[in-house]
Amino acid sequence: MIDVLKDPIAWIGDLLRTWLIGLGLLPEFVTFLLQLLSAVIIATAVLLLTFLLIWAERKIVARFQDRVGPNRVGPFGVFQTVADLLKLVTKELITPTGADLVPYNLAPLITVMSVVGLWAVMPLAPTVLPADINVGVLYIISIGAIGMLGILLAGMSSNNKYALLGAFRTVALMVSYAVPMVLALLVPVLLSGSMGMQAIVEGQRPIPFFVLAPIAALIFFISSLAEVGRAPFDLLEADSEIVAGYNIEYSGLKFGMFFVAEFLHAFTISALTATLFLGGWSGPWVDLYPVLGMLYFIIKSSIVYFVVIWIRGSFPRIRIDQMNALNWKFITPVALFGLVFTAVAEKLAVELGLSRLLTHVGANALLIILTLLALGIYARSARTKFESGTKAG
């Protein structure tokens, strides 16, 4: 009984495996069946999680705006999203004239697939990791960017100028912010010596990487927000902007799938930030009771998701030229130098025998000071330019 409580998923897995082998099937086939079962369970659970996420977002943003949010359908309005989904299911699927049918219909599927695929490498507990590949971080980068492809297909096949423009703007933005994201992702790999997600979480056992490399954590968080297209970077699909961007010509559940993919992606990057920088499932007593690992993981991801919603409710939308300038002129150079400083600091700490924590804190403090100096110089030169401009004009 205690075994079940300690590690329910491994216990159920063993139970199913012995039962299926007892039925006379080959062991490899049994493994395949169990993998198929877990794939279907994870995909369904993750898609159903979206109901909770959308409800949580609506309630929390409402409270930030001093109103109540949905509270009619079910206790505290929990079933509001179900009602919305049922409404969407009965809407007519209008296909625009001249649309390229195969990419048009594939686009929502590809976008959802890329987000669901990210959950394959998410370590939920010390013993629960669906796919233990040793290139987890690079896998996250590549599969996450397949979502870009879905958006591109949606825009190009809709036979609509604004969908095309919106899709290309979105892709240009996602591509730009992928650069600092990739550079920031190199830092946990550096500090833990492996690309596998489980190894990165285990490398955070004494000290989470958020303490050793706060700038990299912040850069990863901000560039992931821009990748997902959440506020304050949601210029490209806000209703008052380029008419909802790449999903103008989608109706019914096809549009619903884009919506689901966006919310799920926001939670997925919260979970990724929690895993890569906050320590994932690590916490007290996790070795004795692996189930606690899942609890810590959920708590940490929820905290980061709350910060995501908090940011959405607090900041105004940024203009697209400001977004691009922010990325190329501020975030990417800081990410590059952060990577250089972290690499040199870690090696110096090991070679000279200094305390790892203090060296990294010192390196990050140095980077912050240099960044503030550079910003100060830039601000001063911009101010003198502005004043000379107004004096002359």
């Binding site: 599969i143 960017a145 870009m148 492809l149 591109l152």
Partner: protein, 180 residues
């Protein structure tokens, strides 16, 4: 009786070849770019079947996520790209097909005579983790691949500068004076 690995290889290879043929024969440029993405994904699956997980993910991250998207953007930069519907094959297509078949037969003859090529995925000398670490060490080891490593960065820099020089009039406007 074919093993599971062989069946998977045949399916992946067939899909890759069909997508590659569609890339060169489809009349629309945009469709060609989309078939190219499928071809590159097929190549990634082939890498996986050869036990090269790192290379498969690199293939997706570099080719599909960066290069294919750049190709699509470049296609859209040309005027009237989506309207073009050009027939891609001319009257002498059978000559090209015969040349390709002869080349294919020659390559098969060559490969089957090499004893080192096995039918299954080769057994690797080290575990995947150790291989990746070895690759990292090899890239910066003075006796091994340090020079290609640094030259690669200079090559990328040269490509970046060259493309910026070419694309500058596009971004800054053709009527502006272009400084060197």
């Amino acid at each position: 009786m074919l093993s599971l690995l062989q069946i998977a290889f045949l399916v992946a290879a067939f899909l890759t070849i069909v997508s590659a043929i569609m890339v060169v024969t489809t009349p629309s440029m945009v469709h060609a770019a989309l078939w190219l993405i499928l071809t590159l994904a097929g190549v990634a699956v082939l890498f996986l079947l050869l036990n090269a997980g790192f290379l498969a993910v690199v293939q997706i991250a570099v080719y599909i996520d960066a290069i294919a998207i750049m190709i699509i953007i470049v296609v859209m930069l040309t005027k009237g790209a989506t309207r073009q519907r050009i027939r891609q094959v001319n009257k002498t297509w059978w000559g090209g097909a015969i040349a390709a078949l002869i080349l294919f037969a020659g390559l098969i003859a060559l490969f089957t005579q090499t004893p080192a090529l096995a039918v299954n995925a080769p057994a690797l000398a080290m575990s995947q983790e150790a291989l990746l670490e070895d690759l990292g060490m090899a890239l910066v080891d003075v006796n091994r691949y340090i020079i290609p490593f640094e030259v690669a960065s200079v090559l990328l820099l040269a490509a970046l500068i060259g493309s910026i020089m070419v694309a500058r009039p596009l971004v800054r406007g053709k009527d502006e004076e272009v400084e060197a």
